[in-house]
Structures are given as structure tokens and as C-alpha cells.
Symmetry: C2
Subunit: 621 residues, 2 copies
Amino acid sequence: MQPHLSHQPCWSLPSPSVREAASMYGTAVAIFLVILVAALQGSEPPESPFPYHIPLDPEGTLELSWNVSYDQEIIHFQLQVQGPRAGVLFGMSDRGEMENADLVMLWTDGDRTYFADAWSDQKGQIHLDTHQDYQLLQAQRVSNSLSLLFKRPFVTCDPKDYVIEDDTVHLVYGILEEPFQSLEAINTSGLHTGLQQVQLLKPEVSTPAMPADVQTMDIRAPDVLIPSTETTYWCYITELPLHFPRHHIIMYEAIVTEGNEALVHHMEVFQCTNESEAFPMFNGPCDSKMKPDRLNYCRHVLAAWALGAKAFYYPEEAGVPFGGSGSSRFLRLEVHYHNPRNIQGRRDSSGIRLHYTASLRPNEAGIMELGLVYTPLMAIPPQETTFVLTGYCTDRCTQMALPKSGIRIFASQLHTHLTGRKVITVLARDGQQREVVNRDNHYSPHFQEIRMLKNAVTVHQGDVLITSCTYNTENRTMATVGGFGILEEMCVNYVHYYPKTELELCKSAVDDGFLQKYFHIVNRFGNEEVCTCPQASVPQQFASVPWNSFNRDMLKALYNYAPISVHCNKTSAVRFPGNWNLQPLPKITSAVEEPDPRCPIRQTRGPAGPFVVITTEADTE
Amino acid sequence: MQPHLSHQPCWSLPSPSVREAASMYGTAVAIFLVILVAALQGSEPPESPFPYHIPLDPEGTLELSWNVSYDQEIIHFQLQVQGPRAGVLFGMSDRGEMENADLVMLWTDGDRTYFADAWSDQKGQIHLDTHQDYQLLQAQRVSNSLSLLFKRPFVTCDPKDYVIEDDTVHLVYGILEEPFQSLEAINTSGLHTGLQQVQLLKPEVSTPAMPADVQTMDIRAPDVLIPSTETTYWCYITELPLHFPRHHIIMYEAIVTEGNEALVHHMEVFQCTNESEAFPMFNGPCDSKMKPDRLNYCRHVLAAWALGAKAFYYPEEAGVPFGGSGSSRFLRLEVHYHNPRNIQGRRDSSGIRLHYTASLRPNEAGIMELGLVYTPLMAIPPQETTFVLTGYCTDRCTQMALPKSGIRIFASQLHTHLTGRKVITVLARDGQQREVVNRDNHYSPHFQEIRMLKNAVTVHQGDVLITSCTYNTENRTMATVGGFGILEEMCVNYVHYYPKTELELCKSAVDDGFLQKYFHIVNRFGNEEVCTCPQASVPQQFASVPWNSFNRDMLKALYNYAPISVHCNKTSAVRFPGNWNLQPLPKITSAVEEPDPRCPIRQTRGPAGPFVVITTEADTE
């Protein structure tokens, strides 16, 4: 089955006239392009395979594989296109929109096929990039499919190009079903398009060896009939065997039912609280009215996987305790099915495979919640495009709760509800920001994976951890308050660390008394609209604020100034000793120093026009 | 005297070995550079002369000439260096600092001379640019001086390069007195350096023909002995002849005493108010205790020139009335001498030459003041790096005061006191920003010239003019309030327009009652620190605000929300009829659409290293 290369006419084109390379923009450029294409055809594809794969569209027409060279700061992409198509677009945009996107275009004018680095404007109209930063390395036909190999630097310094960072990337794609006379004739609005979220720059963490006594346990949905609706969160309760002894989970990975790769979006395994002896069995949509309320107590994350993520290995020196006395036997599996084409009748048994060992590792890994307390005191006015709320884990709390040698955070899972757009946690010491723990500038509430950190972060006694979430409430008419409800908001970073401590939760919220002063000022400037009487609830008070610019700006000013109440807790109900109210906001005098973007020295002169693609055909033997 | 070219060894170097071109960074690059330098030597200097000139340093060692091609968006620079030097640096930075500057470097390692596009980091250390956007076209030796010809696009899209716009540009320069082994060995802190402010992108406005009856009048300082201190503002009062009839000024230009080109920084001619019959004669420093207070009433700008500015031509259809009854005969000339090297004994008779005609033009040109009222109600907290205050000329005022056909603004002079850093005036119509009237993102209070607008702006009845100033009060310990004093602030745009109307002043300030509400809130959050009693003055109240983040943010929120008092005045004391207090802030829903920067397609591959300079010698015959 090893394909061998041979030069062949153009891919699925009516009039193949390929080897004459000619640009659409004149002879001078064309001569240059001939040389360029020839040079490209001569270069070898990179030797390393492509460790990462995802389907782009639910039909499986487009499949993306990639690898990352951190030395060269380059990604190699392999895009596989099924069936005869007139062309394809692939790229990246801020939040998956087809407008203002950084694109690779492959299209035909009915005669020749062209490849170009392009961009779409705010109306979806496509234009050629001044600099051609996506470099085509190979275009190969294998029976009815086309495989494109191209590369791009992380940062190109072309203002029209997306900056690839290690956070969520919203990939966009589109399929062209007909020829276009020119690139400028294409508008994304007329195409079959879609988006896929993925972390492109996976951290380079070495894989610890598995011990000889490793065992596995599959937590899987039992032959679920995937509903033919766009979004389903499926809940399934299972339990560990009776008297299952204490083990350490040291790795887990997804098991996705073959054929459903494009439908299974993300999965999580939660452990139920140990405070209840038993939990009712359940197998159905999480929003079902039949779902027992008790299952809300199954919220301790054991494993989380999202599309594109590979196996998750705990550091060699740590494992997650599981089984034995002191932890619940009940587990909840949650599977997010994403079925935008409403495919019917598909059955699924996807889930997560836990790899565990009885040879306990030197450290227990724990999870700590950073960010905001779930309280309506923290609210976002409606019609805000970028409103930031911040929660603090203060120096006083880390001083009291962390061991002298500190803790090491090695992974992180960011969490908000529907209006969350960005999340960041920064470590500060002695009043200065030192290090970003985790950051996602393209965060999506629909793509929450546990991410290994590129560099583990050591938190010492006296350090401060600052977690900020940015929200977009453009579509809301009322204030969005903090809380558990899906229409309320959260700002949380679940950090995975070792050695495990008693500190489970280190979060904050604004002081209640200062918020009441805010409502008083609102009344002073307006006409007594907010009830500051004792019987008014905070959500009611926020609901009656008239959201003019003054009241918006003043709420921001309040959150940036007023003292906070700190939750420095052993469990969600038990605080460390001391008075944690009316704490001053940590004073931070300097921000994390960010390195300047390194603009690549361009290897080739950016051609002024797109260039003609010469495909090679690989016969399958 | 026509120089003829001949190839000659390197410029003032001990060991000339020039024609072998070799880079410091290896043979491969060197081969490329040979070709490049050869190609550059072959290219012709542009045919157009250099209409603009300025001395860079007070000694006259460095002189810059330039021209602008708006079609190609390129500037050609000619830098003339006097005397034997080991090298020179020239470039641009945000506000004239030597750190974070975009630089051209010419230096020698003792053997060869190199030219490179470079940048300085925040410590002044020099680095090579990834992209070489300054292109050397010619290096020519004329007796004891060197002339460098190079060009650069306005916008390079290299993040290390300055974006050249049509506002103030802070040019920086430095002289190298010794060889350096490499570019990276150079730090700007060890060099003899300086800065010069200039508008590089002068607007392309055609020059109207002068009528046959044009006459001139010189307003000049009478043989002043320039003080040997860095900064002197010299004031000189003169008067028009008795019974001098009404004329129109149609052009003016600077007359700078030969040899003093680097010392005369800017000059203005003011007309005194007509309300006084006579003004005392005065000739001395403007800050002299001997200066009569009455001269503060000589503030109506007739002409303003600053370094690098050429003659100022009024549009063909308009002139500035001058002479005759109804205007004062008394004029004040103000000359700003900039003498940082404390040169002694220099005499000067610089001034401004007014060109005027008795054939009155169809329109009288007028000056209108936009921005903020001179009142302490508008204040800037201390220790702010970028605090913005905004003044409004409202739709109600333009509706009442402008003619039906509107007015045309053709020139603008921006004005603040010492903490001003940026000024912009935008025209809005129907709630949407439409056009920038004038903008300076690198405004300096020490460089205030009347600038012709690239495109005249028509203001209609009902339009809104919004003027915003950005201040830096990092060095202040107290709030800076609005007012006339040099340590108080202003935010003004003097717009020059025709036809002249009765509207002399269209400005605003926050409503006094709302500011008192602000002081009440400050007290509510703090501990009753601001006296809100009737006898407290606003400057006293601002002086007692504790400047925590809440009080800062809330002041911004107040200025962005509270109603305003509008000064829609015929003269500074006479308002148009109506109640102008408690006016709502104009609601603006959309900002001016800015075009994306056009990144140039690079003509040449950016070399990875600096390249060797081959000078040609021009014998003066």
C-alpha cells in the first residue's frame, strides 16, 4: 500500500495543462513561480509522521493531520480531501467565524488549480495575502482523494495572519463545488463551511513509561443511540466494584467508537461525592427531567478529553487516588455529542479508558479550584463585548495551606459557562506577576479539555494566583450573575498538582458591603431605581440597575478596587481558620513580561500571485 | 560645481578594502550582498529634488533633506554628515527617546563600513532588523562630508519599524566617534545623540498663484542676543502703521537668520485684542518679570511656523483680514529659541514675513477654538500615563451658528500645555464618526505648527466636533486641573476655516453639579476627605481626592457620562442665545473606519546581515 510518486495531470480538472506554470498576473511573476514550484516539488516532506489527527467536518470529507516543530516554530499540516472537489479552504479565525479568517485556498478556474495564502475580510470576501506564508510542499492524489502537505510558521508577522499559540485554535474549512475565475471571486458565505476547535500546539512532554502492573478500566456509554439534535450531553452513572482497593490512575485515553470520530466532541469522567453512600443509576441526556438531582453531586473531575487530545499521562512521580475507603465508588461519564447535520440512527459506545496501578506513586495528585466563588455578587452587565471578572487566591491562603516546599501544577482545565471568551491564571510573587499558569485567548465553553502545561509551575507559600475571565454578553438583555445555572456564569481554573494538600478551593468574590455601596451610588446618580432594602436579593438588585455607561464603568471600578471575601477552603464548606472577609485586593505592580513575537526571516520571496499546483499521483497497489 | 562620480576607497577609514564585498555573517550571504550592492550602485537617485530640509543637531553636523512619494508611499531621505566620523545613526521613535527606536545605522569596524536597518531595545542596545526596509541607494563623499541617500516605505509591517504618518515625527540621531566590531556592540547610551521634531508627510496641496499687488511685511525680532539657556520664549511687540487699511494675508513664511537654523525652533505672530486701544512696547523673554500683564491679551494667532515647515498658503478663495478698523494694530511676535548646547553670543533677527493683498478675496478666513473650556472642572489625576479628556462642539451649536452651506476647515493647530501627548478632532454626523479633522498621535507641546489639512473638511449645521487630548501626568504628584497656567492644562484645536462666522469658540466642560456628585461618592467610599462645602474651590477639592484606582476610574466614568456645559460663543464672553447647561453628551455609535495598513510587497529579499557600503566620491571642481 506504500504509495509511489509519479507526475500526473492536475487533480479532477476538465482541461489538464499543468506543467506549464503560469501565474494569473503576468509573465514576470510566472517565470519566478515556475522556479518556485519546481523547487517545492523537489523538497522532501518532513520525515516525522503526523502525531495529531482530527476530522474537520461531520461527514469526514476533510481530515487534518499535523506535527509541530518547536525548534523551527513551524507546523506541518496534511489535509486529506475525499472525493472530487473543485477546491477547498482551510484556516483559522478568532472564534471560528468565516470572516476575518487566515486561509489556505486551493481552487480551480476550470483549467488549472491554484494554491494561495489568503484572508477573508469582514464580509467574507477572499483576498490574496501580501506575504505567502503557507507554503505548499506536496499535492498528491490517492485514488479519489487529494492530500495536501503544507507548512506555516507559528507567527508570520503578516497582519492578516493568525498567530498560532498554545491555546484553543478555531479551525475553519470550506468546500468549493465549482470553479472560480479568480480568488477575489470567492466569498465564504456561498460555500459549505464549518469550524473545528483544537489545541494545535500540544506541549512537548515526554511520555512516562507504564509500570508492569498497569491495568485498565473502561468507562463507556452503553450503546447509546446518538440523538439527531445538534448538541447532546449524555450522562451515564457507573460504579467501581465493591471493595475495589486504592489505586493510582496514571494515564487515561479516549476510546471513540469507529465511525463516530466527528460526532464525539468531548467526554469527562466525574467522581461522586463521598458524602452520599449510593447514587441512583442513570443513562440518558444530562438535561433530562428524569435525571436525579443527586447526580449534581458527581462533580469531581477524574478525567477529561476533548477532540484532538491524545492520551493524558500523569507525571512519573504522581498518580490520582481512586478506589479504597474515603472515596466514592460512583462515577459519572458525560459525553458531548456534536451532531450539527442531525445524523440519525448512529449508535455509540465511546468513553474513557483509565490506566491504573496498585504500585502507588510517591505523590498523590490533587485538583484545586481557582477563580471566582459561585455567587451573584460577581456580575456582568448585558451588552458587554469584553467584560473581565477576576478571582484571587491570596498570599495569606497559600501561606497557610501550602506545604513549605510548595506544590507543582502540571495541568489545568479552564471553565466558564456560555458567555466565557478568555481565561487566564497568572502567578504573582512579591507584588509582581511572574508566570502565566495557563491562558486561553480563544477559550470556548464548548471545548474544555485538561491540558498539560508546557512547563510545570511551582507555587510557593505566599504566592498569589490570579484568574481572570473575559465575557461577552452582547446577546443578553439582563445582567449575568455568578452561579451554578447554565445561564449564570463561572470563572474557574481546575489546576492539577502534587503533592495533594487539604486546600481544595482558593477563590474570591467582592465584599458584599461594598457592592451595596455601589447600588447606593447607582441610586444617587439615577432616580432611586435599585432597591437597597434588606429583602432585595443581589440578582434582583442587578436586574434593576439601568445599564448606562456610568453604572457599567463604576462596576468595573468597584471590582478593581473593593476588598474581597476569600474562600480558602478544605472542602467547599470548610474554611481554613481565620477571618477571610474584607481582605485587600492583592497589589500587583508589574505584568508578566511577554517576549516580542519573532518574525520569521522569509525563506522565499513572497510571490505576488497565487501559484499553479502540480499534483503527483500515488497509485495504491 | 557639478559633482562627477568616481569609485573611491571607503569613507574616512584606516584600511580601505572596499570593493571586496563580504558580510560579517558568512559567505553565502556575502555573495548575495555583492549582487545587492552592485544593483544599488547602479540605480539612479530619484529625479525629484528634496523640497524639505532640517538641521538635526544644533551644531549643524547632520542635515536631513527628504521628499515624499504619496503614490508609492515612500520617503527618500538624504542625510548629510559633516566631518570625518566613524558612523552615524538616524531614525524615529515614539517621543524622541533613543530606546525602542527604529534606526538606520552606518558604522565601521575599522576596516569596512556597513549600512543596516536596525532597532534599539528598551535598554538602548542595537539589533539588526529581520527585514531590511531602509534601502541604501547611494553613499557619496563630497570633500569632508558624506551624503547618504536611502528610502523607506511609510509602513513596513515589520513590528520593529516606526509607522510614518502625517503627524509629528520624533527623529533621533547619534554620532559614532569610534569603530565597533559589530552592530550588537553598540548601545545608544554611549553616543552623542539628540532628537528633532518634524512633520515628515507634508500634505500635497497645490500652491495658489500670488496676485500682482502682493506686498510683504516682516515681523522680526530686532537683533536679539540669544540667551545661552536651553529654552527661551522671546516676546516682541510691534504695531501696524497708523491708518493701515484692511488687507488679506494670503501667505506667510519664516525668515530665519543665517547660521541660526538649528536654534530657531518655532515662531508665532499674535494679534492683540481690539478691546484695548494701545499696548506697551516690549522686547524680552516672555517669562520676564518685566513683561506687562496686558500682553496676555495678545493671543489671537495670525501666523505660526515651526521647524521644517514651509511657506503657508491660504486657499485661493480666502484670506485673513488684517488692518483697518475693527482690529488691533498691535502684534506680538514670539520666538522659541532651542539652545541645548548653551551656545553664547549668537545674535538673531528671525521672524515671519506676511504676504498680503489689498484685493480682498471672496472669503474671510477665521479661526475657531474647539476642545475644552479653560476650567478646573476638567482635571487629570496624577501618575496617569494616558488619561483622556474630551471636549464637544455639539450639534445644537453648529445648527445655530454655522451658515446653511457649512464651513470648510483647511488648517488646524493643536494646543495643550506640558502634559499633552496626543490630540485628535473627529467630525460626527447622525451619531456616527465620519472623518478625522486632525490628529497627532505623537503630539508635543513644544512643536505646535499650523498644519494644512490633506483634505479640507466641510462642517455642516448639526455636525458634532469631538476633540480629545491624551495626557501623561506620571511626573505630577497632584491633580492637574484645566486653566491658563503653564502647569494647568488645555485641550484645544484652533481650526482655520472659511467663510468666517460669528462662532469663535465651541467647547465644553463637565457639568459642575455632576462633578460635585463625584466628590460626594469619593467621600462615601473613603472617609470624608473632600470638602463639599460651598467655600471649597474645585482645585482645592481635586487636591484633596485620594487617588486610588476607584476614584481614578470613577472620574473617567463621570467624564464619559455626565452632561456638559457647552460654550457656543461669539467671543470668549458672549454666548449664542439659549440655555447651554446640562446638555447631554453626544451619542456616538460608530468610530471612524480606518483603512488597514498596506504592507509593501518587498522588492528585495531582506538580507540576513548588514551590508558593506561602497562610497563614490564627488570631486568639487
